[in-house]
Symmetry: C2
Subunit: 138 residues, 2 copies
């Protein structure tokens, strides 16, 4: 049996976060010691590792809940799991594209400031005047 601290060290999920996951129903409430402390089995450790892994990959808690539900029904077609992963991939790609545009814009703004005072600072001017933007960033 593992204490909540053991679980935390082994999975890298912080202690309050584990309790938060329990409250959200992502991990089930474990057994308790005589003194009311949480005691986890290996199964619960693995489940938390799964969650940690999925969170690292940017899955939303709701997605993770769906994936866990699916993993309890191994006989079901896996189209749903696949769809969740595909959607997550699409969303990550979108974020990357958006951030790339911001990067370009910021590079332009942050590198050509050669003014000495705020009055002729390119950063401030660029932010004041959207027309200075190379292209629309939404």
């Amino acid at each position: 049996m593992f204490s909540i601290g053991d679980l935390s060290r082994r999975t890298g999920v912080k202690v309050p976060t584990i309790r938060y996951y329990e409250q959200m129903g992502l991990v089930s409430a474990p057994e308790r010691s005589e003194g009311n402390q949480r005691r986890y089995s290996r199964q619960e450790l693995e489940r938390l590792a799964f969650i940690r892994h999925a969170r690292d990959l940017g899955f939303a808690v709701e997605d993770i809940r769906a994936l866990i539900d699916l993993s309890f029904h191994p006989e079901q077609p896996c189209g749903h799991a696949d769809k969740i992963a595909q959607e997550q991939l699409a969303s990550v790609r979108e974020k990357i594209a958006r951030l790339r545009r911001l990067e370009a814009e910021l590079e332009r703004i942050a590198t050509c400031c050669d003014g000495k005072t705020v009055g002729d600072c390119y950063v401030i001017r660029a932010l004041s005047d959207h027309a200075l933007c190379a292209d629309e960033h939404v």
Copy 2:
């Protein structure tokens, strides 16, 4: 004079968000009509456009507050504004790098699922077993 709705349409900032910015002190409380409705000047429109632009570029509200303060002191050296922009650029680049790693991982996970049921779904297995990961993603 513009109503809050005019301002919203012209800047693309939603009406409740404008009121929220006022509460946060990002935009100052404008004049009111006889019937207590907000009436904005062109200057306030421009300020909101500035904020919108900076938010689009991912600046935090605190950063924007600092940039606005700076823009009221055009005689100051602009090193601070430049620093804020540089930091924002660095943070955007970091996010891009991180998302790229996630993208690679998700591609691997989401494209090689050829199982029929959840039982042999690669998505689920990959999430369960961190060891399947090509490299560490933090």
